[in-house]
Symmetry: C2
Subunit: 205 residues, 2 copies
């Protein structure tokens, strides 16, 4: 993804600040970044951040809130594409993994810097994460009930499927050997195998 | 794991500094932590860190080097327990996952703060990580060659198996619902399913 610079005036100030914050937080961490760093990287005056956000923490919260809500909406849309738990889980994992590969820098920030949020803000993000977990758990529970998934611990398996996708944001590199689509398609197979789906077994190479 | 305090004088200074650094880096990140923070948390004078380490970066490197070498030795020992790729991968995943749950704070630091290392130090850590990857790839390649594993992309699958284990350090909580052993045993099953091993399929609940 292109970095924001002062030569991209078409972007509004909030967007420039948001993009500059993601880059700064991913490079030096939340605590290693100053509001001046962010404003300057956004091509604005040192105090410009305060025109739009009450604090650096509020900016992180906005990034985390928008990012988590977007993922929740995405996984709900994935599940809505079918009535079959195998298809639902496969589509969900493909979408989730592709997204974490494509926006890996932003995903790292909002997954690894949560401890910097205030208790109130953290609670709001944890609630959305819980909703995301619930979507995955629900698909797996329905697959188990329908006899198409077989797992001794559906909830730990749901956690593991999401965990595998989240870690893509840590290791994925734009210049690496695999495209986001290639990773997404392979991880769909891995997730279906993790839940013991026949689809995962038939897809043996 | 207990935090180090000045009431634990039996630990030598390097160990106290190392433990204080892990706690500080995990809480505020490498860039958000000062050498004074670390020395003070270790119950020592503000400049005490420099008696033992040339810089904060050298201390992070030592933590990362010791931690990665320990994991490399561990996975090699896991593989040495058997000649059967199914047993080898199962034991490796159990050991790797249990370890990342037990020392989750340290594992987070040395997996997520690598960008703070100098180019030379990062290259040394990347080399050890490559050796760890090789151990896993080799087991999976031998399982595929022996016809006991079935996967369309052994190398992406090896990456995914390690990735799943690494992310345990992000989400595991000492006060959570699962013990390190419970996670390790379930993840053994998940990994064997990911590689399409008969052991993973027979273990259907």
């Amino acid at each position: 993804m292109p970095l924001v610079t002062s030569s991209t005036p078409a972007l509004d100030a909030r967007t420039r600040l948001a993009r500059a914050a993601v880059e700064a937080f991913s490079t030096r961490g939340f605590h290693g970044t100053t509001t001046r760093d962010i404003s300057t990287a956004a091509g604005m005056s040192p105090a410009a951040l305060y025109v739009h956000h009450r604090s650096k923490e509020e900016l992180l919260f906005e990034l985390a809130h928008v990012g988590h809500q977007r993922v929740l909406d995405m996984v709900r849309a994935s599940v809505a594409t079918s009535d079959d738990p195998v298809e639902q889980l496969g589509t969900l994992v493909e979408d989730f993994v592709r997204d974490h590969a494509l926006v890996h820098t932003g995903a790292r920030v909002i997954n690894y810097e949560l401890a910097a949020l205030s208790a109130e803000h953290l609670a709001e993000i944890v609630a959305i994460r819980h909703d995301i977990d619930e979507v995955v758990r629900d698909v797996i529970d329905r697959g188990v009930a329908a006899g198409v998934f077989h797992t001794p611990d559906p909830h730990m398996t749901a956690l593991a499927v999401l965990s595998l996708g989240i870690d893509v944001a840590r290791w994925f590199r734009d210049e690496g050997r695999w495209s986001p689509d290639q990773v997404a398609v392979h991880y769909r197979l891995l997730a279906l195998r993790m839940v013991g789906a026949a689809g995962g077994l038939e897809a043996r190479a």
